[in-house]
Symmetry: C2
Subunit: 351 residues, 2 copies
């Protein structure tokens, strides 16, 4: 199914910094050690401009003798999740979760089974589901993501992530993460970058498993966030109830705004794959010194999917990586990563 763009603009959207202290010959050795080391750390990347841009960025921002050296505490790198760190087709994982929660919801509230849009979701008719309007989709998100405590939500999503399977690979969604991007995350962290997920998906959902899957702790996950309400349960124990009240819409301009709210610093590196990431990349790019902006292009129908500009750059409806975004990337020197050409393998399970 292809949910409407509007609605799913919820659904898309070491190096040796001490080297400078070493005498010059040692520095030269250290630098080439970085290059060699980076090569093995980025083992799933083919040699080429994308891999080189990552290595160059790390070198120029961590070498104390570099004019674009960045102090370790300021090293922030942000990553979109859907389509950048893991598979987003045929539907954002986050939205899949909401759809798959509907039967559970209807069990608790049987009256809903004859009420739209729940009725359509229960029918399992994908063609009909694809026709759901934005307000209908929002109703499903609100009904499945709010009304429970944050602890209850954690239990539900953790269980779902362990049991749900992607229809194409029949594997848990958490295995459908891009191995080359896991290597970038680790490589940047080895260079003292703090790595953040900045996603249009629900923040509480995206936080589940982020530590295990990406090595990114929950406090470094920025997402679309609804309010919570502090309450006392019947035993007088404080709880936080998830409420259907939007606090942060973390997509498009909201990603730059969310970064300011949650991090308070401008990132030095930003990775995305769609128009929902455009402002985050622009905001990163507008900073001084060396910055790294990367867009993942889905052009590998065989190993993953091909959509967006890989099909037809002029057709803005096939994907959210539009011609305008592609042009902006080329004009501003952002790096476009070809999954087909830049990545030796897509998933860790492809040995």
């Amino acid at each position: 199914m292809k949910p409407s763009a509007r609605a799913f603009d919820i659904n898309r959207r070491l190096f040796l910094s001490t080297a400078a202290l070493l005498p010059m010959p040692a520095l030269l050795r250290a630098t080439s050690a970085l290059a060699k080391d980076a090569g093995s750390q980025l083992a799933s990347w083919n040699d080429g401009p994308a891999k080189q841009a990552i290595i160059d960025f790390a070198r120029t921002t961590t070498d104390r003798s570099s004019p674009t050296f960045v102090p370790p505490q300021e090293r922030i790198a942000v990553f979109d999740q859907d389509g950048t760190l893991w598979v987003e087709h045929p539907m954002y994982t986050f939205v899949t979760y909401c759809f798959e929660r509907v039967p559970v919801l209807v069990k608790a509230k049987p009256g809903l089974k004859d009420v739209e849009p729940f009725k359509t979701v229960l029918s399992g008719n994908r063609e009909e589901m694809a026709k759901l309007t934005t307000p209908e989709l929002e109703k499903i998100l609100a009904a499945t993501l709010t009304g429970m405590t944050v602890e209850e939500f954690k239990v539900e999503t953790t269980k779902w992530l362990e049991t749900a399977r992607h229809p194409r690979w029949n594997r848990p969604y958490t295995e459908l993460v891009y191995q080359p991007m896991l290597e970038v995350l680790r490589f940047l962290r080895a260079n003292d970058y703090k790595t953040y997920i900045v996603t249009g998906a629900g923040q509480d959902f995206a936080r589940m498993g982020s530590e295990k899957v990406y090595g990114i702790p929950p406090e470094q996950v920025v997402g679309t966030a609804s309010a919570t309400k502090y309450e006392y349960d019947k035993d007088g124990r404080p709880t936080l109830l998830k409420e259907p009240k939007l606090m942060l819409f973390d997509d498009f301009a909201g990603k730059a705004e969310g970064i300011h709210l949650m991090i308070g610093r401008r990132p030095y590196a930003a990775f995305g794959n769609s128009t929902g990431d455009q402002q985050m990349l622009e905001y990163t790019h507008a900073g001084d010194g060396a910055r790294l902006m990367m867009l993942v292009l889905h052009d590998d129908a065989q190993r993953e999917y091909a959509y967006g500009p890989a099909q037809d750059l002029a057709d803005t409806k096939v994907g959210t990586f539009t011609q305008a975004l592609y042009d902006e990337a080329k004009k501003d020197g952002w790096t476009v990563v070809s999954m087909k050409n830049d990545w030796k393998r897509i998933f860790a399970f492809e040995q």
Copy 2:
């Protein structure tokens, strides 16, 4: 001056975790080394139950053989700022900044000089200023904290923090931080705790200097936050404009809600000094295992101030540390820190 309670409930309110890996006799040595080491790390604390509670908490949550051991990545400690980490009298520093910005604001918009509440603030008449209503105070906050880019705000506040002086000590506000609390921050970090400020004050304001003063980076400061708006300036450069639209009211229940939004984990330790911190302490306390809840009692009129329960526990108007809060602390085993008795010195400049 004493602003109304409502408004200023904006104004108020190592160890060796590897020890377990050592053979037993070495562990015993390491444990007593902790106690000795903690003593020197908490040098401004007198021996007593408060100091002991901090040391015991660190030991029991970092000793791998302890039933209440906490994995390093889950070690979160939250600190209120005003009255807990630095002086909050005669007025919250954050509000003082807003008042002192009014002349600058009026210079840019001369029409405001005859308009209330700006006229009263310009008069400098403290008695009249003390009578400003909550909506009038909110007008001043909105006018002085929004309408500029986040970069402009950073420049303004950084300059102010360097030049403004506290009326009593004639020192920068950033020197009026409590030395014993700086030691607690460092001690907990040495025990792999991530330390956060969770303040009712403006988040962007509280982030200024947090790294230099407390060793707490901006991304670990949670505060009352207004929205920003992503825009392009006349040169097409992206900027974030601070808007007069409240996103997160980070006080009272909002502190627990803000912690979930910004951190996503329940803290293991929480420090406060007023009713605005009550829910944050309750939320911390409600977690499993060992938790540390502390309230700073201002009972030292000579070296700092005495207010709240130190004057009259039954009078809820003199301070925001109410009788009810005091009773809850005693009932639930939270530690009340007496500035007079528990702290050898208050400020670093008192050698």
